[in-house]
Subunit: 549 residues, 2 copies
């Protein structure tokens, strides 16, 4: 094949590849340099026709400039996407960060009407802020039904624990999202809710047969496809009963057979990130990309080596392994969805682009939405029983340390107790162990000068953590501290399942609180609640120690 023709073919294939970039302007600021391409690499790939970029990190203000810059490096409209399932602030500092979807899933059981309304506003907030930042494709909603409390990776990211709740809420979310002129993505097909394995770390294997899929997993996906969701993301999971040989991302039976032919989805099929270890530990970038494309994926997300991925698909086309029609169909779908982008954008694009340096990014209605969702999702008990003493140990458990997105030196979870003279201790999995070898008394209390304790536990299924968190004996710690009468209060931020597990053993008289959201606003509300009985001893100016030279 002549090189101009090959070049043309390469450009077409490149359009179907979505590469990873840091949201920061400078190479030196990349947080994950082994995954995030340098600016020169990005420039070259975009000039060669790469059709999409997934962004991670930086501020809303940086990301806006970043998206403009990336677009100028390309000679075509490109997909600019991010995993902002819980708000633009989840990835880009300065945006709104909302409690996880499960908070509304739980609310739906009590007040479906309110939950549906909030889910739609939730989607609208993400869509509007994403577009304000220059993004045009939001990798949400998660359509997985979290049917397994021990699911380490979906968990609170899901919109509920049963198919009908999830269907209703993702449809409401989706209406709000697309009304703001961005593209949407239903993930992780055919369903990631029924596994105890994190595909970021290893390959989950699911026994579900097609009957169970039809009854549970597929329902939210079908509902969203009905509603015209723009893309569907494949799961890195092996569904033995359906395709014993290929995980969903590589399964023609699942992507072409089930999703296209049976369900009749006509939008873009995108793989989950190919760098994830369920894939990267087994296949090279080139082969993984070809297998996914062959199975029915249109877009290849985050191959470890984008150039290898492009070249391998080109070879597969030239060798006849993959028919050229397949390429044309995928390009057609990409163009069709991106053209919708232009149509839907027109409505509401104006007022938003006013976002300027020095102006606030979050609009007041967005701020009150977040506040409202935090309020209705918080549970509290027995504040009047809360007694602090100067020797109270404020033991905070976090899973993410460097950095910890929800905890800074001025976070309420640290600041408020220390303003009352309490001793702060932060435990994290990389920290010195607080455990002793006594199953019923796991916490070595003399490392904390005896307590009493206020426990603030930040625990939720976070990607890459696997089941590490589940193995910490907090249930036993609660029992241990209660027995010694040194549990002054208990707060859980994050996993509802974890909170429920602790409630089983928690004495009804102990002051306690739960928030699905881990953000500072939630901390503030909960600590105000606990300490309000003692407000009179509260002195704002006290030990306000902050940094300067």
């Amino acid at each position: 094949m002549s090189s101009p023709l090959r070049k043309d073919l390469r450009q077409k294939v490149a359009q179907l590849v979505v590469v990873r970039a840091s949201g920061h302007a400078l190479d030196s600021q990349r947080k994950y340099p082994s995954w995030e391409l340098s600016n020169s690499e990005l420039k070259t790939l975009l000039e060669e026709g790469v059709g999409g970029v997934i962004l991670h990190g930086g501020t809303v203000h940086e990301i806006k400039d970043r998206c403009n810059k990336l677009s100028t490096w390309s000679n075509q409209p490109i997909l600019l996407c991010a995993d902002v399932e819980e708000g633009v602030g989840q990835r880009f500092e300065g945006g709104s960060w909302m409690p996880p979807p499960m908070a509304l899933g739980l609310r739906y059981l009590k007040n479906p009407k309110e939950a549906l309304l909030l889910a739609q506003e939730y989607g609208k907030c993400i869509g509007a802020q994403a577009r304000r930042c220059g993004l045009n494709w939001v990798l949400a909603p998660v359509c997985d039904v979290n049917s397994d409390p021990l699911n380490p990776v979906i968990n609170m990211r899901a919109w509920g624990c049963n198919p009908n709740t999830v269907s209703a809420l993702v449809c409401a979310f989706h209406r709000g999202l697309v009304s703001e002129g961005v593209l949407s993505c239903a993930k992780h097909f055919p369903g990631h809710g029924h596994t105890q394995v994190d595909s970021h770390l290893e390959l989950p294997i699911v026994e579900s047969d097609i009957a169970r899929l039809e009854e549970i997993e597929l329902i939210p996906f079908k509902a969203l496809i009905e509603q015209g969701v723009n893309s569907v993301m494949s799961a890195h999971i092996l569904f033995q009963a359906i395709d014993p040989t290929s995980l969903a991302t590589f399964s023609e039976k699942i992507l072409s057979g089930l999703l296209r032919d049976e369900i009749g989805f006509e939008g873009m099929v995108v793989t989950d990130a190919l760098v994830m270890q369920a894939i990267s530990h087994r296949y090279g970038s080139g082969e993984a990309a070809v297998m996914a494309f062959e199975a029915g994926a249109d877009l290849i997300l985050m191959p470890l080596e984008p150039v290898q991925a492009i070249d391998a698909i080109v070879e597969a086309l030239l060798s006849g392994r993959i028919p050229f029609e397949k390429l044309e169909y995928s390009l057609e779908r990409r163009n069709r969805e991106m053209s919708k982008l232009n149509i839907i954008s027109k409505n509401s694009i104006e007022e938003d682009y006013s976002f300027q340096i020095g102006e606030e990014f979050e609009q007041s209605k967005e701020l009150s939405l977040v506040d409202n969702i935090i309020d209705i999702s918080i549970e509290t008990r027995n504040d009047s029983n809360f007694q602090y003493s100067p020797d109270l140990v404020n033991l905070i458990r976090i899973d993410d340390l460097l950095p910890c997105p929800y905890l800074s030196s001025s976070s309420p979870a640290l600041r408020i107790p220390s303003q009352f003279g309490c001793k702060n201790v932060i435990y994290h999995p990389l920290g010195v162990s607080p455990w002793q070898d006594k199953p019923m008394e796991p916490l070595e209390i003399d490392r904390f000068n005896q307590g009493p304790f206020l426990l603030q536990l930040f625990v939720r299924g976070n990607p890459f953590r696997g089941n590490k968190d589940a193995n910490e004996p907090w249930v036993e710690v609660v029992e241990q501290l209660q027995q010694k009468n040194i549990l002054s209060g208990l707060v859980v931020y994050g996993s509802f399942y974890f909170w429920e597990k602790l409630l089983v053993v928690l004495k009804s008289s102990i002051p306690a609180a739960y928030s699905p959201g881990q953000m500072q606003a939630a901390q503030q509300k909960i600590l105000d609640f606990l300490f309000k009985a003692n407000k009179n001893q509260f002195t704002e100016k006290n030990n306000r120690v902050e940094f300067t030279n």
Copy 2:
């Protein structure tokens, strides 16, 4: 006095106040909201004539837009300053971050010629990058002679331990700095090197008489004043022998008598931050500002309540407590120094302003300067003796956790040992205690499954830490681990004094390394050095676990 005249007077006084702002664009991004004014407050104050802003936090890219924005809110040229003593990267992500000045102070003793050259480049790098960001006033160099190894706040920030070293190096630094078109600041007058108390926390009291000041502390200041330093910052220290009643910032004897009349300094005298607790715990914002202005300060830095500070000075002028001439002189000095700014800028302003999004901020000559200073400042011993085993515990000690500027999940200090299968443990003062109650065996080893240990200790005098760090028994830990033959290696990042203290007990056969700089580049060099004997077992792709959804 009629209100138009009062308004005019208020505007003049406001010019002498420097307020604190976050470098971030959005209020919601402020890291120290109790200190950092909101955008609306800033806008109002700048419109009312406030003459300067000190910035902290954000990226080089944000700070550039930030400075432009702040300037548009003012109807006059304003001072835009930052504490970037060790490089713009010390405060603003993306800039160069160099080893602390003491690194060159130590080098000077071996190779004065090289140290002087590097000190000048050091200043040039800061001046050029500060101006690239839109800053026009660099609050450096530190002129204190660190004559006390236990000094908790100056320490490695000083350019040396004796007056001649400091004089020579600050003069070289200053030549480089001002050649790039920014204003300079000699601090902390009359000298902060001879104290064991951190004025961020309490009031240091120094016995030094004028004789000792003349022989030691004043020498670098006089040298820089000779060289035309644009401003001098006062220390929040009580010099009993000179003025038993007022600390330097409030002392007419020191600011007017010593600095103006005797030494003959004609530039701007600026207070250290008035929010510092040596001051804020004793005086209100208004009274503190008046006392400093009355004593001879021209500029009032970071009053906790800027409006109170301005109003109080206005009242002091109207009441006759402070003569109006004093105001005119201070305004005159501010104008004179700022006019120099315009002159010196002209030379080298062009090439720099090319800095654009997506381009690198650090120029190659700056990158190699940093690299060079790191190289010459690192000390290493016995790499060939370093043996790692899979059960090696990589115990990292840090003082700053939320966030930790020099440690992220991908930092070499964590990444390289874990690539070899070592267990990472991070200890920080807010963490679970690793100590047991045995003075000669302070580390409770069974919390670390027995070791052996690689100790990586990040320790340096950091403001606000007081003497907390000095109290940790690391000398005893080194002896304890050596006795048990489970000390595989020792690394110190930061304080030279601390390193020297450990060397006294460290067996000469143990692999060890020291770097004054704590940045990732220094970690990389040191761990490459330690692990290079084992490079063959090194697998870059191994456990490279990074975040995505």
